[in-house]
């Protein structure tokens, strides 16, 4: 654990905060939900923004999308992938985490018939976005795409699984056209693997539907200074450099140069 004696030095809005773990459990195969107590982060986060957690003695913090908030706590979803997330699985209720955030920019909140799509652990910001749009009574439908049935308290309007353990068997591309027509979608918001986001963005563009995508990148800082996660984005006819962590992670789909 971090040295808590330094707490008296904390006086700024984005941390580091030394925040208590309220809950940490596996909710679906290899996907965990971590609930952390922090009024500051809960009150200031928008769907699409992320926080970074100091894990074990690793040099780099690990970034996670905020997956939901209450008055004085927030949720994260994480998939166990390496040293950092493995360490996270050992956190117990009452443990203290060293956390910074919220960082980056979130999804636009608009009164449009929105289609929210989350693939795999990319469902995290979509879960949060669903709560926010519901609270504002804004119109939306949701799609969750997984390998196997995702055991979460949330109900998605369309729950697609590769193995057919949910109502819809197959891939996102098998159903997208039908869903867009059915829901008269005006704007799509998606978080998931790059190929899925690229597919959806390009398909939506062909129908003249706007998209916003939440990207993932490798960075050291989370503040835009290390330039580790720099990508090119299209601004008119020109290409500009943007940092996923600072200028994103949410970008307009049509601006992204997919590699």
């Amino acid at each position: 654990m971090q040295n808590l004696k330094d707490q008296n030095l904390i006086r700024v809005s984005k941390g580091p905060f030394f925040a208590k773990v309220l809950e940490n459990r596996e909710i679906s195969d290899n996907i965990y939900k971590l609930r952390i107590e922090s009024e500051e982060i809960a009150q200031n986060s928008l769907p699409g923004q992320f926080v970074s957690i100091k894990c074990a003695d690793l040099t780099l913090r690990r970034p996670f999308s905020v997956a939901g908030v209450r008055e004085n706590s927030f949720d994260l979803l994480y998939k166990v992938k390496g040293t950092g997330t493995e360490w996270l699985t050992n956190l117990k209720t009452g443990d203290i985490t060293d956390i910074i955030g919220p960082m980056g920019n979130g999804f636009s909140i608009e009164n449009k018939k929105s289609l929210l799509i989350g693939c795999g652990v990319g469902i995290a910001p979509i879960d949060f976005f669903m709560d926010v749009l519901s609270a504002k009574s804004l119109p939306y439908k949701s799609i969750g795409c997984f390998r196997s049935k995702y055991k979460n308290a949330k109900e998605y309007d369309y729950h697609i699984t590769e193995d057919g353990t949910s109502a819809l068997k197959g891939k996102l591309s098998d159903y997208l056209e039908q869903i867009i027509t059915e829901t008269a979608t005006e704007k799509i918001f998606i978080c998931g693997p790059n190929p899925a986001m690229q597919y959806v963005t390009e398909y939506a563009l062909s129908l003249n539907i706007e998209t916003e995508v939440a990207l993932e990148g490798d960075f050291a800082c989370g503040t835009g200074v290390c330039m580790g996660c720099a990508i090119k984005i299209k601004k008119g006819n020109a290409l500009e450099s943007a940092k996923i962590c600072k200028d994103g992670p949410v970008f307009k789909g049509e601006e992204v140069v997919w590699r």
Partner: protein
């Protein structure tokens, strides 16, 4: 009659004409151009910041991947992506001045002429201090190329010295055969200080799952794993030079900082440590002051002097 307040200690340090409130500076490439870290700490709590490396023209940097975490540090291959000196003067300099931030501009060039041009622009804009990056391992042309050979380095620093009157710091790296020759050349050319070390050339390898072939990233290694290299480099160049040394390489706590003072540093920089703890530099400033109070050092020079009193048992373990 003035009574000396026993609760105040003088942590200030001077590097050439540059006065630092305390010897803690944030390193180039890890702290942005200006006030990027104001949401995490009080920027005025530290001695100063070094800006992201700035070139004459804007640079796009290297393709992805640019970052790989390794045991005890990280490898980066950013390739000096930056906005260029003109945009820096127009957009960033006013922010630094408005916020009253003590800053050093890190400059890099592809040719001696470029270094000279950027330094002239800094002089025209009354910038107090520059750090010449002569050790970035991630670019094809310039930087390390000039920092490797003492003759070309001497000429280059001499030319820059002619056009820049503020504090001139030269940043060296350990990717050289004879550190002491390089350091002497920098001193003889009229630099005010040496900062060291830059990242160390390194490579990360990932063998493919079927054991056929591998993927890799090459770049500069930074973080805790390079601290022993940095300490040795500074210890060696200190024997041959008498200008101030700004030490860096994996500093992550107070004891690390004291070790750098012991081997010859007069000030230190925090780089990768900021990625781990965004307010590390502020915390260290607080801890240094507290350490000096508790242990009765009235000023930084007294602490440094004490640390450099060599223990004869050089090879002793802890």
């Amino acid at each position: 009659m003035a009574v000396e307040n026993p609760n105040t200690v003088d942590t200030s340090q001077k590097i050439g004409s540059l006065l630092l409130k305390n010897p803690i500076i944030t390193a180039s490439g890890t702290f942005g151009y200006t006030n990027e870290y104001e949401e995490f700490m009080e920027l005025k709590s530290i001695g100063g910041i070094v800006t992201k490396g700035i070139t004459l023209n804007p640079r796009q940097g290297n393709p992805q991947p640019r970052i790989k975490e390794v045991h005890g540090g990280l490898i980066n291959s950013i390739g000096l992506e930056n906005i260029g000196i003109q945009a820096f003067i127009e957009k960033k300099l006013p922010v630094l001045k408005e916020n009253n931030i003590n800053f050093i501009v890190n400059i890099a060039g592809e040719s001696p002429e470029e270094y000279k041009k950027i330094a002239s622009i800094c002089q025209e804009n009354e910038i107090n201090a520059i750090e010449m990056n002569l050790s970035c391992p991630n670019v094809d042309k310039g930087c390390l190329e000039f920092g490797k050979d003492e003759e070309s380095l001497y000429k280059l620093v001499l030319e820059v010295r002619k056009v820049f009157r503020g504090a001139l710091i030269v940043k060296l790296g350990s990717n050289v055969s004879y550190p002491e020759k390089i350091a002497i050349a920098v001193q003889n050319a009229g630099a005010d200080a040496i900062s060291a070390i830059n990242t160390v050339k390194a490579m990360h390898v990932n063998i493919n799952k079927n054991y056929k072939g591998f993927k890799f990233i090459k770049g500069g290694l930074s973080g805790q794993s390079i601290k022993p290299l940095a300490l040795n480099f500074i210890y060696e160049i200190k024997k041959h030079t008498n200008i101030p040394i700004i030490g860096m390489g994996g500093i992550s706590n107070l004891n690390d900082m004291l070790e750098f003072f012991a081997v010859g540093s007069d000030a230190i920089q925090i780089g990768t440590g900021t990625f781990t703890h965004p307010n590390l530099s502020e915390k260290l400033a607080f801890k240094l002051e507290n350490f000096m109070k508790v242990n009765g050092y009235n000023n930084l020079q007294a602490l440094i002097h004490s640390l450099r009193t060599e223990d004869m048992n050089k090879n002793g373990n802890d």
